[in-house]
């Protein structure tokens, strides 16, 4: 057989049938549901008198709309409450395993999946949410789908797909001090652009990627979608297997060994064909952040804000100027030293225990700057509990951070955690679009350590200066 990529192997393993027009019926191993994109799908099933083909391959959790403050009170916003109550009715009616709001296991769907061992290497995983790419860090083919497709998976446990193109992004070398997975991914997106991965599944490879823990790999795969890709992948290895072992839904005992034997076959063969190859050197990557309203507007923290006048392309120049105006920045100014109003550490990109440790490391013994609101939103109830066992909550609370409940929170402004117009936020999330964190809000995407540095200095800061 011709050498195959990791993507090809997972794909081949899941094709039920390829139809004459080239579309494949692709089998789905895990279907994750949340409250926003599932209601019409359940309704569609009900109207057609259909059932879920495999409820035991499906999991539902509430995350997007939930408040991250006191949860014992009823949810105030009627539309959010309605979506959550609708999900609760639906999972009951259709027999879907469900993690309720008040469960210790509740959290952001893309944190909960790997954490519970629900997402495993070699699987196909879908969810009505674009950041499903996160699960690719397990060595699984994971991508976001629309509401009609959610219904299709519910009824058939398959999806209609055409194969993607293969892209490999290789990062070789050793990351410098203060440089994290988030900086690597921002550098990659800055390099290839937000459309650079269009039509592709990206496999992340190279010694710098191999050297990352699972949380770091999830951060990278999470933002594949910001690079335009359909999904991101990291080949499973011992780091992956050690992470999976002992998780609630991971295979146990002999089954685990059998699984690992299979998972070890999941890497790209030597000589496998990639349609696109990109290589970065780890040593060239500095702590980074975005200055504009597109995730590709990446700068090292040491740089100055670009000047539209230097841009020869008219359309790009106009767009850059619009971004500068929206972000309240001047061309040529140093990005470091820009005062921030809010610091948000959370989201499916950076809310795992490793992320919180990195932030706590910077926050320890320091105080949140006057006038800055700084929030820590753990990705799940279990992350929260683990952090509390390690005493991270005390570090954050002593420093003046808010210590909140798990959820999407200020990542998307769909729940009570929102920016007000003009507020500038140092955020560990994944999208900096206009209004994403609240109407008129200004988002700088950066790593948890960089976000903590901004919190304690009150401005965008090179975390290496706080070492």
């Amino acid at each position: 057989m011709a050498p195959r990529t990791l993507f090809d192997k997972i794909w081949d393993h899941h094709v039920v049938e390829t139809l004459p027009d080239g579309t494949s019926i692709l089998y789905i191993d895990r279907h994750l549901l949340h409250e926003v994109t599932s209601p019409q799908a359940f309704e569609g099933l009900r109207l057609a008198g259909r059932k879920l083909r495999h409820p035991e391959m499906t999991v539902a959790v509430v995350d997007h709309n939930v408040p991250t403050s006191d949860r014992t009170q009823p949810i105030e916003e009627p539309e959010s409450r309605n979506q959550i109550e609708t999900l609760e009715r639906n999972v009951k009616e259709f027999g879907v395993p469900y993690i309720p709001l008040l469960s210790a296991n509740q959290g952001i769907v893309h944190v909960v999946g790997p954490e519970q061992g629900i997402s495993l290497p070699g699987m196909t995983i879908v969810c009505g949410d674009s950041h499903t790419s996160t699960h690719g860090a397990m060595g699984a083919l994971a991508f976001g789908i629309g509401t009609s497709e959610v219904e299709h998976v519910m009824a058939t446990q398959t999806i209609l797909q055409r194969p993607a193109k293969n892209m490999r992004v290789t990062v070789e070398g050793t990351l410098g001090a203060g440089v994290s997975a988030k900086d690597v991914m921002l550098a990659i997106i800055g390099h290839i652009g937000t459309a650079g991965g269009t039509g592709h599944v990206i496999e992340f490879a190279g010694s710098a990627i191999r050297g990352l823990d699972m949380a770091g790999r999830m951060t990278i795969c999470n933002m594949s979608i910001e690079a335009g890709a359909r999904a991101g992948l990291v080949a499973p290895d011992d780091v992956t297997f050690d992470y999976v072992r002992g998780r609630p839904f991971a295979p146990k005992g002999e089954d685990f060994d059998k699984a690992v034997a299979y998972w070890r076959t999941l890497s790209s063969d030597d000589g496998a064909h990639f349609d696109t190859e990109v290589t970065l050197r780890a040593e060239d990557i500095a702590p980074s952040l975005t200055w504009g309203t597109s995730p590709e507007t990446v700068l090292p923290i040491t740089a100055t804000v670009p000047d539209p006048a230097q841009e020869s392309d008219e359309a790009k120049r106009v767009q850059m100027q619009r971004m500068l105006d929206y972000m309240g920045l001047d061309a040529g100014q140093k990005i470091a030293g820009t005062p921030v109003d809010v610091v948000f550490i959370g989201s499916c990109t950076n809310s795992r225990i490793e992320d919180l440790r990195a932030a706590a490391n910077v926050a320890a013994g320091r105080k949140v700057a006057d006038g800055v609101r700084a929030m820590i939103v753990p990705g799940s109830g279990l992350v929260k509990r683990q952090a509390e066992e390690e005493g991270l909550d005390k570090i954050f609370l002593d420093a003046g951070f808010e210590w909140r409940e798990a959820g999407c929170s200020m990542c998307l402004g769909m729940n009570p955690d929102r920016l007000t117009p003009g507020q500038r936020c140092a955020s560990t999330s994944n999208r900096n679009f206009e209004g994403r964190q609240g109407p008129g809000g200004r988002t700088h995407l950066l790593s948890p350590a960089m976000a903590a540095a901004a919190a304690v200095t009150g401005c965008l800061t090179d975390v290496r200066e706080l070492a």
Partner: protein, 207 residues
Amino acid sequence: MDKFTVLSAVAAALPEANIDTDKIIPARFLKTTQRTGLGKHAFDSMRYLAEGSENPDFVLNQQPWRQAEILVTYDNLGCGSSREHAPWALLDFGIRCVIAPSFADIFFNNCFKNGILPIRLPRDICDALMGDAAMGSNARLTVDLPRQVVIRPDGQEVPFEIDPFRKHMLLEGLDDIGQTLQHEGEITVFEQTVAGERPWMPKISFE
């Protein structure tokens, strides 16, 4: 999805071009958790007056067109936002067939996905059908999908074109799901094979 075979129904004329999906269903009604129930908001801005009461001059507020199941309009029906809520709203109102000289692409596709038959006919024929529609319940139109003709009240038959695959899907009441389920045998075989290869695949349950 309901099958579409022969539809004999009251037709309503909306002699306008570029009726966009925002007119069919305004954005503020998209926060729903349902596909159904949007019918009462279909054509909201045309159908209701500022203070919320029905606009008596709008055709769908008049008898017998409240029962219309066929809609005839001018060019570029369904342009604008790609929202699938537009066909959902039409269907919930009771519309099963839309006839126009031309349609916006996504809306055209979304109609098929939801069991609505969109028919392209030249402008002069649309004018004639609008004339028939104005006669109300005495002048029902018949849309015969198997024979691919619209039959006017005077018996005149107007042929129309339709992609054979889409015709098949409508006649059988198949959506994408229905189509995939025709391969259910293959899916089951796949499941049995994979279950043998990967006996360690865990089931999820919080019981």
